[in-house]
Protein backbone atom coordinates (compact mmCIF):
# COMPACT_ATOMS: atom_id res chain seq x y z
CA UNK A 1 0.00 0.00 0.00
CA UNK A 2 1.50 3.37 -0.99
CA UNK A 3 1.30 6.62 0.98
CA UNK A 4 -1.78 7.94 -0.84
CA UNK A 5 -3.70 4.70 -0.26
CA UNK A 6 -2.73 4.74 3.42
CA UNK A 7 -3.97 8.33 3.72
CA UNK A 8 -7.28 7.35 2.11
CA UNK A 9 -7.69 4.36 4.43
CA UNK A 10 -6.92 6.49 7.48
CA UNK A 11 -9.45 9.14 6.48
CA UNK A 12 -12.27 6.63 5.91
CA UNK A 13 -11.59 4.14 8.69
CA UNK A 14 -12.43 6.02 11.89
CA UNK A 15 -15.55 7.90 10.65
CA UNK A 16 -16.91 4.65 9.18
CA UNK A 17 -16.36 2.80 12.48
CA UNK A 18 -18.10 5.60 14.39
CA UNK A 19 -20.95 5.57 11.85
CA UNK A 20 -21.42 1.81 12.40
CA UNK A 21 -21.54 2.35 16.17
CA UNK A 22 -24.03 5.21 15.81
CA UNK A 23 -26.32 3.19 13.52
CA UNK A 24 -26.21 0.20 15.89
CA UNK A 25 -27.08 2.46 18.83
CA UNK A 26 -29.90 4.03 16.81
CA UNK A 27 -31.28 0.59 16.00
CA UNK A 28 -30.93 -0.44 19.66
CA UNK A 29 -32.90 2.64 20.68
CA UNK A 30 -35.61 1.97 18.09
CA UNK A 31 -35.81 -1.74 19.01
CA UNK A 32 -35.88 -1.14 22.76
CA UNK A 33 -38.82 1.25 22.33
CA UNK A 34 -40.93 -1.79 21.35
CA UNK A 35 -40.00 -3.74 24.50
CA UNK A 36 -42.52 -3.51 27.35
CA UNK A 37 -40.19 -1.74 29.79
CA UNK A 38 -42.92 0.68 30.90
CA UNK A 39 -41.35 3.62 32.75
CA UNK A 40 -37.84 2.59 31.68
CA UNK A 41 -38.35 2.97 27.92
CA UNK A 42 -37.77 6.72 27.81
CA UNK A 43 -34.76 6.78 30.22
CA UNK A 44 -33.15 3.98 28.20
CA UNK A 45 -33.80 5.75 24.89
CA UNK A 46 -32.42 9.01 26.26
CA UNK A 47 -29.34 7.24 27.65
CA UNK A 48 -28.65 5.74 24.22
CA UNK A 49 -29.18 9.18 22.64
CA UNK A 50 -26.68 10.61 25.16
CA UNK A 51 -24.08 7.99 24.22
CA UNK A 52 -24.66 8.76 20.52
CA UNK A 53 -24.15 12.48 21.13
CA UNK A 54 -20.94 11.81 23.08
CA UNK A 55 -19.60 9.63 20.24
CA UNK A 56 -20.54 12.28 17.68
CA UNK A 57 -18.99 15.17 19.62
CA UNK A 58 -15.81 13.29 20.53
CA UNK A 59 -14.99 11.53 17.27
CA UNK A 60 -16.82 13.35 14.46
CA UNK A 61 -16.75 16.88 15.85
CA UNK A 62 -13.17 16.22 16.92
CA UNK A 63 -13.40 17.15 20.61
CA UNK A 64 -11.28 14.15 21.60
CA UNK A 65 -8.12 15.51 20.02
CA UNK A 66 -8.94 19.18 20.37
CA UNK A 67 -7.59 22.06 22.39
CA UNK A 68 -8.78 22.17 26.04
CA UNK A 69 -10.44 25.51 25.30
CA UNK A 70 -12.88 23.86 22.86
CA UNK A 71 -13.82 21.19 25.39
CA UNK A 72 -14.33 23.91 27.99
CA UNK A 73 -16.73 25.82 25.69
CA UNK A 74 -18.68 22.62 24.90
CA UNK A 75 -18.97 21.70 28.58
CA UNK A 76 -19.91 25.28 29.53
CA UNK A 77 -22.92 25.14 27.19
CA UNK A 78 -24.09 21.91 28.83
CA UNK A 79 -23.48 23.25 32.35
CA UNK A 80 -25.65 26.31 31.72
CA UNK A 81 -28.28 24.05 30.19
CA UNK A 82 -28.27 21.89 33.33
CA UNK A 83 -28.73 25.04 35.47
CA UNK A 84 -31.75 26.00 33.35
CA UNK A 85 -33.30 22.55 33.84
CA UNK A 86 -32.47 22.36 37.57
CA UNK A 87 -33.87 25.80 38.40
CA UNK A 88 -37.03 25.30 36.34
CA UNK A 89 -37.81 21.86 37.76
CA UNK A 90 -37.05 22.96 41.32
CA UNK A 91 -39.98 25.31 40.77
CA UNK A 92 -42.37 22.87 39.06
CA UNK A 93 -41.66 19.93 41.38
CA UNK A 94 -42.36 22.00 44.47
CA UNK A 95 -45.66 23.50 43.32
CA UNK A 96 -48.87 22.45 45.04
CA UNK A 97 -50.93 19.71 43.36
CA UNK A 98 -54.00 21.95 43.29
CA UNK A 99 -52.09 24.41 41.06
CA UNK A 100 -51.27 21.66 38.55
CA UNK A 101 -54.49 19.85 37.62
CA UNK A 102 -53.87 16.55 35.83
CA UNK A 103 -50.37 16.06 37.20
CA UNK A 104 -49.54 12.73 38.91
CA UNK A 105 -49.51 13.33 42.71
CA UNK A 106 -46.01 11.84 42.96
CA UNK A 107 -44.64 14.90 41.16
CA UNK A 108 -46.23 17.71 43.14
CA UNK A 109 -46.56 18.83 46.76
CA UNK A 110 -49.84 17.64 48.25
CA UNK A 111 -50.70 20.54 50.55
CA UNK A 112 -53.43 23.09 50.87
CA UNK A 113 -52.39 26.67 50.27
CA UNK A 114 -53.82 29.40 52.46
CA UNK A 115 -54.50 31.92 49.71
CA UNK A 116 -55.83 34.38 52.23
CA UNK A 117 -52.28 35.04 53.26
CA UNK A 118 -51.40 36.54 49.88
Amino acid sequence: MNNSQLRHAHIWLRPTAVWAALVLLGLASLGSAYLPLNAFNTPLNLTIAGIMVILLWLFLMGLIGSDALLRLIAVAGLVWLSFMFALTFSDYFTRACEDQPGRPPAFCVDQKIDRGAF
Partner: protein
Protein backbone atom coordinates in the same frame (compact mmCIF):
# COMPACT_ATOMS: atom_id res chain seq x y z
CA UNK B 1 2.17 30.83 -3.64
CA UNK B 2 0.87 27.43 -2.51
CA UNK B 3 -2.81 26.75 -1.80
CA UNK B 4 -2.08 26.40 1.91
CA UNK B 5 -0.34 29.78 1.99
CA UNK B 6 -3.32 31.38 0.21
CA UNK B 7 -5.68 29.97 2.84
CA UNK B 8 -3.71 31.55 5.70
CA UNK B 9 -5.20 34.78 7.08
CA UNK B 10 -3.96 37.46 9.46
CA UNK B 11 -3.19 37.26 12.39
CA UNK B 12 -2.62 33.49 12.38
CA UNK B 13 0.97 32.22 12.20
CA UNK B 14 -0.08 28.92 10.56
CA UNK B 15 -3.12 27.02 9.30
CA UNK B 16 -3.41 24.86 12.42
CA UNK B 17 -3.77 27.94 14.64
CA UNK B 18 -6.23 29.46 12.17
CA UNK B 19 -8.24 26.20 12.27
CA UNK B 20 -8.30 26.43 16.09
CA UNK B 21 -9.57 30.01 15.84
CA UNK B 22 -12.43 28.96 13.55
CA UNK B 23 -13.26 26.08 15.89
CA UNK B 24 -13.43 28.35 18.97
CA UNK B 25 -15.75 30.77 17.15
CA UNK B 26 -18.14 28.10 15.92
CA UNK B 27 -18.16 26.29 19.29
CA UNK B 28 -19.15 29.53 21.04
CA UNK B 29 -22.03 29.78 18.57
CA UNK B 30 -22.93 26.11 19.20
CA UNK B 31 -22.96 26.73 22.98
CA UNK B 32 -25.55 29.46 22.43
CA UNK B 33 -27.53 27.13 20.16
CA UNK B 34 -27.49 24.48 22.91
CA UNK B 35 -29.33 26.96 25.14
CA UNK B 36 -31.74 27.89 22.33
CA UNK B 37 -32.76 24.27 21.69
CA UNK B 38 -32.43 23.59 25.42
CA UNK B 39 -35.33 25.97 26.07
CA UNK B 40 -37.50 23.91 23.70
CA UNK B 41 -36.40 20.65 25.35
CA UNK B 42 -37.15 22.18 28.74
CA UNK B 43 -40.66 23.16 27.64
CA UNK B 44 -41.15 19.60 26.41
CA UNK B 45 -39.86 18.13 29.71
CA UNK B 46 -42.10 20.35 31.84
CA UNK B 47 -45.25 19.60 29.86
CA UNK B 48 -44.48 15.89 29.62
CA UNK B 49 -44.02 15.69 33.39
CA UNK B 50 -47.29 17.60 33.86
CA UNK B 51 -49.32 15.57 31.36
CA UNK B 52 -47.65 12.15 30.86
CA UNK B 53 -50.82 10.39 29.69
CA UNK B 54 -51.59 13.06 27.05
CA UNK B 55 -47.99 12.86 25.75
CA UNK B 56 -48.27 9.04 25.59
CA UNK B 57 -51.42 9.27 23.47
CA UNK B 58 -50.07 12.06 21.25
CA UNK B 59 -46.60 10.53 20.82
CA UNK B 60 -48.05 7.26 19.50
CA UNK B 61 -49.28 9.18 16.42
CA UNK B 62 -45.84 10.25 15.11
CA UNK B 63 -44.44 8.55 12.01
CA UNK B 64 -41.61 6.43 13.39
CA UNK B 65 -40.59 5.20 9.92
CA UNK B 66 -39.81 8.72 8.66
CA UNK B 67 -38.11 9.64 11.92
CA UNK B 68 -35.84 6.57 11.75
CA UNK B 69 -34.94 7.01 8.07
CA UNK B 70 -34.08 10.62 8.76
CA UNK B 71 -31.88 9.60 11.69
CA UNK B 72 -29.96 7.26 9.39
CA UNK B 73 -29.63 9.98 6.73
CA UNK B 74 -28.24 12.55 9.18
CA UNK B 75 -25.84 10.09 10.85
CA UNK B 76 -24.48 9.19 7.42
CA UNK B 77 -24.20 12.84 6.44
CA UNK B 78 -22.14 13.54 9.58
CA UNK B 79 -19.70 10.83 8.51
CA UNK B 80 -19.33 12.17 4.96
CA UNK B 81 -18.79 15.63 6.44
CA UNK B 82 -16.06 14.33 8.77
CA UNK B 83 -14.32 12.63 5.86
CA UNK B 84 -14.47 15.92 3.93
CA UNK B 85 -12.78 17.76 6.83
CA UNK B 86 -10.01 15.15 7.13
CA UNK B 87 -9.52 15.05 3.37
CA UNK B 88 -9.26 18.87 3.28
CA UNK B 89 -6.46 18.71 5.82
CA UNK B 90 -4.57 16.39 3.46
CA UNK B 91 -5.35 18.50 0.39
CA UNK B 92 -7.46 15.75 -1.25
CA UNK B 93 -9.55 18.04 -3.43
CA UNK B 94 -11.77 15.50 -5.21
CA UNK B 95 -12.62 13.64 -2.00
CA UNK B 96 -13.51 16.91 -0.23
CA UNK B 97 -15.84 18.11 -2.98
CA UNK B 98 -17.47 14.67 -3.42
CA UNK B 99 -18.07 14.26 0.31
CA UNK B 100 -19.45 17.79 0.70
CA UNK B 101 -21.82 17.23 -2.24
CA UNK B 102 -22.91 13.90 -0.75
CA UNK B 103 -23.50 15.57 2.63
CA UNK B 104 -25.68 18.18 0.95
CA UNK B 105 -27.67 15.51 -0.93
CA UNK B 106 -28.26 13.56 2.29
CA UNK B 107 -29.50 16.77 3.90
CA UNK B 108 -31.87 17.38 0.98
CA UNK B 109 -33.11 13.78 1.26
CA UNK B 110 -33.82 14.44 4.95
CA UNK B 111 -35.96 17.45 4.05
CA UNK B 112 -37.82 15.46 1.38
CA UNK B 113 -38.69 12.74 3.89
CA UNK B 114 -39.63 15.45 6.39
CA UNK B 115 -42.01 16.89 3.79
CA UNK B 116 -43.62 13.45 3.28
CA UNK B 117 -43.95 13.08 7.04
CA UNK B 118 -45.50 16.53 7.45
CA UNK B 119 -47.94 15.71 4.66
CA UNK B 120 -48.98 12.48 6.47
CA UNK B 121 -49.35 14.40 9.76
CA UNK B 122 -51.50 17.07 8.13
CA UNK B 123 -53.64 14.38 6.44
CA UNK B 124 -54.32 12.99 9.94
CA UNK B 125 -55.36 16.49 11.07
CA UNK B 126 -52.59 16.74 13.66
CA UNK B 127 -52.35 20.53 13.57
CA UNK B 128 -53.29 22.00 16.96
CA UNK B 129 -56.55 23.93 16.74
CA UNK B 130 -60.32 23.72 16.96
CA UNK B 131 -60.71 20.37 15.16
CA UNK B 132 -57.76 18.52 16.65
CA UNK B 133 -58.62 14.78 16.56
CA UNK B 134 -56.94 13.61 19.81
CA UNK B 135 -58.10 13.78 23.41
CA UNK B 136 -57.35 15.03 26.06
CA UNK B 137 -56.76 18.63 25.04
CA UNK B 138 -53.15 18.52 26.31
CA UNK B 139 -52.22 16.26 23.38
CA UNK B 140 -52.12 19.53 21.44
CA UNK B 141 -49.20 20.62 23.61
CA UNK B 142 -47.18 17.67 22.32
CA UNK B 143 -48.09 18.38 18.72
CA UNK B 144 -47.44 22.10 19.14
CA UNK B 145 -43.96 21.26 20.39
CA UNK B 146 -43.53 18.69 17.60
CA UNK B 147 -44.18 21.28 14.88
CA UNK B 148 -42.00 23.94 16.51
CA UNK B 149 -39.07 21.62 17.33
CA UNK B 150 -38.98 19.79 14.01
CA UNK B 151 -39.68 23.03 12.15
CA UNK B 152 -36.83 24.91 13.82
CA UNK B 153 -34.57 21.91 13.22
CA UNK B 154 -35.57 21.80 9.54
CA UNK B 155 -34.79 25.52 9.21
CA UNK B 156 -31.35 24.92 10.73
CA UNK B 157 -30.78 22.03 8.35
CA UNK B 158 -31.90 24.07 5.34
CA UNK B 159 -29.42 26.80 6.35
CA UNK B 160 -26.76 24.08 6.69
CA UNK B 161 -27.53 22.76 3.21
CA UNK B 162 -27.21 26.30 1.83
CA UNK B 163 -23.87 26.85 3.58
CA UNK B 164 -22.48 23.48 2.44
CA UNK B 165 -23.72 24.15 -1.11
CA UNK B 166 -22.11 27.57 -1.34
CA UNK B 167 -18.88 26.30 0.24
CA UNK B 168 -18.73 23.37 -2.19
CA UNK B 169 -19.22 25.75 -5.09
CA UNK B 170 -16.45 28.03 -3.77
CA UNK B 171 -14.04 25.09 -3.54
CA UNK B 172 -15.11 23.67 -6.90
CA UNK B 173 -14.50 27.02 -8.64
CA UNK B 174 -11.19 27.32 -6.76
CA UNK B 175 -12.19 30.64 -5.15
CA UNK B 176 -10.77 29.27 -1.88
CA UNK B 177 -7.99 26.73 -1.47
CA UNK B 178 -9.02 23.22 -0.42
CA UNK B 179 -7.07 23.60 2.85
CA UNK B 180 -9.33 26.50 3.92
CA UNK B 181 -10.03 26.13 7.69
CA UNK B 182 -13.56 27.46 7.09
CA UNK B 183 -14.60 23.84 6.53
CA UNK B 184 -14.19 23.25 10.27
CA UNK B 185 -16.90 25.82 10.98
CA UNK B 186 -19.22 24.39 8.32
CA UNK B 187 -18.73 20.83 9.64
CA UNK B 188 -19.22 21.69 13.31
CA UNK B 189 -22.51 23.44 12.53
CA UNK B 190 -23.65 20.42 10.49
CA UNK B 191 -22.80 17.98 13.28
CA UNK B 192 -24.73 20.11 15.75
CA UNK B 193 -27.86 19.90 13.58
CA UNK B 194 -27.37 16.11 13.59
CA UNK B 195 -27.00 16.20 17.40
CA UNK B 196 -30.37 17.91 17.78
CA UNK B 197 -32.07 15.20 15.70
CA UNK B 198 -30.44 12.43 17.78
CA UNK B 199 -32.15 13.94 20.86
CA UNK B 200 -35.45 14.73 19.14
CA UNK B 201 -35.76 11.16 17.83
CA UNK B 202 -36.51 9.41 21.17
CA UNK B 203 -38.51 12.37 22.49
CA UNK B 204 -40.90 12.57 19.54
CA UNK B 205 -40.89 9.16 17.85
CA UNK B 206 -40.28 6.50 20.48
CA UNK B 207 -43.10 7.25 22.91
CA UNK B 208 -45.54 4.42 23.67
CA UNK B 209 -44.31 1.98 21.02
CA UNK B 210 -44.32 -1.12 23.27
Amino acid sequence: MSDAATALREPWPDLDRQRDGVAVGIWLFIASEVLFFGALFLGYAVYRSLYPEAFRIAGAETEVFYGSVNLLLLLTSSVTMTIAVDAARHGMRRTVIACLALTMLLGIAFLLFKGLEYSADIAKGLLPGAHFPLQPAQTQLFWGLYWVMTGVHAIHLAIGIGIVGVFTLILWRRLQPIESPAIVGVATYWHFVDTVWIILFPLLYLIDRS
